[in-house]
């Protein structure tokens, strides 16, 4: 007879009461569990009671499931037989294996081997898998015979389990099956043989591993499995595998070639692999040359650089592209002129690739070469150099970039602005800020603001930068002040905070709007007191609400002591005029594992519109607190039971009450 499913209210019996329903079969919970608290469901597990559940005809299915799960961690030899009895139970066979697999006692192996003879179909596959996971050598004869099973899925499970066991007999069985008459068997045996070869190699039996790999590479199996064998055959041989690798580079089969590419990356740097690859490079068709260049690049052996530079002149674009990309790993300052030429050339894809490589090629000398190009005669090179100076954050480019701001060409001015945003330091900042008061096109204005947003947060002398911006704030017209306030927010620190706070009380609404937005997003707790003052001030309602929300965000988000967080919550509740903000505070209170936070939540439950939300948080908090503060939890849960109509919440509250009264 199948056990009832545990959620059944009609039976209302479950030993795993705290997670399902609040009654137990045996009068006491066998395991302690909680949906959101720390849950060691194994700590209080009693093996004999769990076994009794497994043997019971009446125990709900859920209880049997939980017994299996718990026995997986605490079960001993005593649990093996009752678990094994479930192996042919359609509902519980997997759970039985869940329980059995980790139990170290050899009785498990015996039970699983026994089950092989009496179980069919998908349950049999499960048992085979468990045997493989336990690497039971005594099961090899039975598994071997299953390689002849009519169901390919059973054959596959048996082959992989034999592979995991990887005893000499298991390896031999797999080797033989690689030449089986049935394609399906060969293919499944290959999966097992790959596992076995890997394990043999790991255990020092390299000759046996190589034999398996060689057989796989030659077997009549799908190409990707042959390729996997080939990879193993190359790598298992180490340096002696190089001729095999070389052979695959020229092979017609794409899988063999791809295998060689991967193996070439996996082989250790020792040996003359780079020279072998270079020797092959020119013999290959263009698409393969390109892929081989990417291997040379990944190996980062600079002996390949001359050949890769030569490939930049290839007539085939894919080879040129691969060569440009390889410069990132192999190149240095010496390749800058070549790359600049490519980056200003005709072919869009190659041009873009060269640009990206130039942006990221490491080295001071590369920077110097780029600075020199800022005065190049031709415009494309100058524009490229400006882009690169910005992308590489080259400070010594500032004088040339400042000169470019006087250009008559708007494209040059905008490129210079963008580059200056990434290159200026404190002393150069006014090059940008003084332009805030100048009339200019929308495009140039956007470039200027982008540059300032990039520049200001990067300036190391934060207070000096903030002081400069505060001064600029006083000089710019009202419509520019939001831009400067945003910059002050990005800079942060006391000086910036003071300037932004002052603006939050500005008579101009647009300035107040920008300033309260910046304060509301302030990174750091120092904005808290200012936000609270604003929230209690007589500024417009929408700004007060924004300030209070900013204050609550700080309480929620930043690192501080529990005491400080609690104080902020109390302050926020005192300042709040709407339920929306009170709900936000309730959520923060739920993050403070103290009875005082629970008391605040209990007070919120007195307000009808907040009752359900506060109860929800109080229950979640109590699940963390119950062991430490049982009486506070009990008091809060009594209130929850009176406050909520939510059945799930009530069940959790009752459970907490029980735990609190233990």
């Amino acid at each position: 007879m199948k056990p009832p499913i545990g959620r059944s209210r009609t039976r209302s019996i479950s030993v795993f009461a705290s997670v399902v329903i609040p009654m137990t079969l045996l009068g006491a919970s066998l395991v302690a569990s909680s949906a959101s608290g720390q849950q060691n469901i194994y700590a209080e597990g009693d093996e004999s009671k769990l076994i009794a559940v497994l043997r019971s005809a009446d125990a709900p299915l859920y209880d049997k499931v939980m017994a299996c799960k718990t026995l997986a961690v605490i079960g001993t030899k005593a649990a093996v037989e009752p678990l094994a009895n479930l192996l042919n139970d359609e509902n519980l066979s997997h759970y039985a294996r869940f329980g059995l697999e980790p139990i170290p006692d050899p009785a498990v192996d015996e039970a699983l081997r026994g089950a092989l003879n009496r179980i069919q179909g998908r349950l049999l596959i499960g048992v085979i898998d468990s045997i493989g996971n336990r690497r039971d050598r005594e099961a090899v004869p039975q598994l071997r015979s299953l390689l002849g099973h009519s169901d390919p899925a059973v054959v596959e499970a048996a082959a992989i389990s034999l592979g995991r066991i990887a005893s000499p007999e298991a390896a031999e069985a797999l080797l033989q099956s690689l030449s089986d008459a049935k394609a399906a068997t060969r293919e499944r045996a290959a999966l097992g043989a790959l596992v076995a070869a890997e394990r043999l190699l790991k255990e020092g039996s390299s000759a046996k591993a190589i034999a398996l790999y060689d057989a796989l590479a030659k077997a009549d199996i799908p190409a990707h499995l042959q390729g996997a064998g080939l990879r193993g055959a190359i790598l298992a041989r180490g340096a002696e595998g190089l001729p095999l690798l070389t052979e695959q580079l020229g092979a017609e089969c794409q899988v063999a070639f791809a295998t060689a590419l991967r193996a070439a990356r996996e082989l250790s740097p020792a040996g003359d692999l780079t020279n072998i690859l270079l020797a092959q490079l020119r013999r290959l068709p263009p698409d393969r040359q390109a892929k081989l260049i990417s291997v040379l690049a990944d190996r980062a052996d600079r002996r390949a650089l001359p050949a890769v530079i030569e490939s930049l002149s290839s007539s085939e674009i894919e080879v040129r592209l691969a060569a440009v990309r390889a410069m990132r790993q192999l190149g240095d300052a010496s390749v800058v002129p070549t790359l600049v030429k490519v980056a200003t050339g005709e072919e869009p894809m190659v041009r873009e690739t060269a640009l990206q490589v130039l942006r990221s090629l490491p080295g001071e000398q590369v920077d110097q070469a780029i600075v020199e190009l800022l005065t190049a005669e031709d415009l494309p090179t100058r524009l490229l150099a400006m882009d690169l100076a910005g992308a590489r954050y080259i400070n010594r480019a500032v004088p040339a970039l400042e000169r470019a701001l006087s250009s008559a060409d708007p494209a040059v001015r905008q490129a210079a602005l963008r580059a200056l945003g990434r290159t200026v330091r404190l002393g150069d900042l006014s090059i940008l800020t003084r332009r805030l008061t100048q009339r200019t096109s929308a495009e140039e204005r956007a470039a200027l603001e982008e540059a300032l947003r990039a520049a200001c947060p990067r300036i190391p002398e934060r207070e000096d930068c903030a002081a400069h911006l505060a001064e600029v704030l006083g000089q710019v017209p009202a419509e520019t002040k939001p831009t400067v306030l945003t910059l002050l927010g990005l800079v942060g620190g006391p000086t910036a905070l003071a300037a932004v706070t002052k603006s939050a009380y500005d008579p101009q609404e647009s300035v107040q709007d920008a300033a309260t937005q910046v304060l509301g997003d302030w990174i750091g707790t120092e904005a808290g007191p200012e936000l609270l003052k604003l929230a209690k001030s007589d500024i417009a309602d929408r700004f007060r609400v924004r300030a209070l929300r900013g204050y609550i965000r700080i309480a929620r988000q930043f690192d501080m002591s529990e005491e400080e967080r609690l104080t902020m919550c109390r302050e926020a509740l005192a300042a709040a005029t709407r339920d929306a903000e009170r709900r936000l505070v309730a959520e923060v209170l739920g993050r403070i594992p103290r009875k005082e936070a629970l008391a605040e939540l209990a007070r919120l439950m007195d307000q009808p519109t907040l009752r359900e939300d506060a109860a929800q948080v109080a229950v979640a908090l109590s699940e963390k607190l119950v062991d430490r503060e049982p009486s506070a939890v009990a008091a809060a849960m009594e209130k929850v039971l009176k406050s909520t109509g939510n059945a799930d919440l009530q069940a959790r509250a009752k459970n907490l009450l029980r735990r609190a009264s233990r």
Partner: protein, 425 residues
């Protein structure tokens, strides 16, 4: 000694760091000869892609993938009829035809010889299994995170990917986002002094073993419940699970540490040059887990105390300075002298665009993507180990070489879970 693959991984790391710190990525690898007169990519140069279980995040990935000129998306496999139809509509609208095929069963899609790569964005329970099935079928894989449900799955995933020479990209796209790369590069530059502590933004760790009330089983065409469950344990059907409500259930979800840690712990591993290992100690402290690497660096997994720089924040602290950044792209540094070195980043940390391009380029060159299976394996193991410590409520010592806990039988038994038949790793 580091393995060949680990050496390769490190080389790859340095390349990514130097190439993307300037916020740039290399363009599509499409040779001009592959472009027709209309600019379309010739069939021989296209990467033919199929999808598994594309929900909201998968749809986001798909749309970015469809924007790549060398991708041809041809098939969707989903246990839910509604989702199959939704994805088909998106793809067919994009291509102006009715060609996107729909499948129930993963093996049907994987049997198609014309498919080169798969996009996997199922629920977490399927990620490892689907990736391994794809690897065995010779497909390359872009798989959303988290990539595994257990330590054993993490290992099986990495082993299968390497064994079958697949290109695998975990959906931990922050390895290809400029501000995170810059943060790692700043650590490597030595400007923060000797690295002391790395902090990973995680979520509340808990999951529940609860079952939702049973509901009548829908038709297989509507929801194939057995397939939806896949390798995870059976439980009664409830529509909430299949409509995205599977998170926080132990059988389907790795918990809050893994949810974000698959990104942020991964970045911390990278910053600590620990892509080939994991911390050796894990100590639960409230909802946080404090870990220690063999090189003495501390890893703090925490859900509070961040500066507000966006979701999935990380913080790297050295003896002489620190850097914190998050999904907003904003960066905070100390000492202030470092502010001058901070570039401008605007791309949100949630964007998979560069990451997808990285994957596609690697499919063509067979190079190793930024979030390859080996690095994903280690960062996921770290998250799983932390969650085990948190569940048990005690400090655990871990041996990264053996991938086992030292002297704690219970913890070791929690490293794996039996896979539900007929699936197997």
């Amino acid at each position: 000694m580091a393995s060949r693959f680990q050496l390769l991984s490190r080389r790859r790391l340095l390349q990514v760091t130097t190439s993307l710190a300037a916020g740039c990525t290399l363009p599509t690898l499409i040779p001009a000869r592959a472009l027709g007169r209309d600019g379309a990519v010739a069939p021989s140069e296209r990467i033919v892609v199929g999808g598994f279980g594309l929900g909201p995040r998968g749809e986001h990935d798909l749309r970015d993938m469809l924007d790549e000129p060398d991708v041809q998306f041809v098939a969707i496999c989903d246990a839910r009829g509604e989702r199959r139809q939704a994805i088909k509509r998106i793809v067919d609208t994009k291509y102006g035809n009715q060609d996107c095929a729909m499948y129930h069963h993963p093996l049907e899609l994987l049997d198609r010889k014309d498919i080169d790569a798969v996009l996997i964005a199922t629920g977490d329970r399927w990620h490892t299994m689907a990736s391994i099935l794809a690897a065995r079928a010779g497909k390359d894989i872009y798989c959303e995170k988290p990539c595994s449900m257990t330590i054993a799955e993490s290992r099986a995933l990495a082993d299968n990917i390497r064994r079958h020479s697949c290109v695998y990209q975990a959906g931990t796209q922050r390895r290809n986002i400029g501000n995170f790369i810059f943060a790692v590069e700043l650590v490597y530059s030595g400007k923060l002094g000797k690295l002391k502590t790395v902090h990973a933004n995680t979520l509340h760790p808990a999951t529940t073993h609860e079952w939702l009330p049973a509901e009548p089983l829908p038709s297989k065409e509507e929801v194939d419940w057995d397939l939806w469950l896949g390798p995870s344990p059976w439980r009664p059907y409830n529509s909430r699970y299949v409509r995205g409500g599977w998170r926080n259930f132990f059988d389907f979800h790795g918990g809050g540490i893994l949810e974000w840690g698959s990104h942020t712990v991964d970045l911390c591993q990278w910053a600590n040059k620990a892509d080939d290992t994991t911390p050796i100690e894990y100590e639960p402290v409230g909802n946080h887990v404090h870990c220690t690497y063999a090189n003495g660096v501390q890893l703090i997994m925490r859900d509070t105390g961040w500066m507000g720089l966006g979701t999935c924040s990380v913080r790297f602290e050295g003896e002489e300075g620190w850097i914190e950044t998050g999904d907003s792209g904003k960066i905070a540094v100390w000492p202030e002298s470092l502010r001058g070195e901070v570039p401008v980043f605007t791309e949100p940390g949630t964007s998979p665009k560069r990451h997808i391009r990285d994957f596609l380029n690697c499919v063509k060159t067979r190079a190793l993507p930024a979030s390859n299976a080996d690095v994903a394996c280690q960062s996921h193991i770290a998250c799983h180990a932390a969650y085990i410590a948190w569940q048990l409520g005690r400090k655990l010592v871990f041996d990264p070489k053996k991938e086992e806990f030292v002297g704690d039988d219970e913890a070791n038994r929690m490293r794996s879970r039996a896979i539900r038949d007929p699936w197997h790793l």
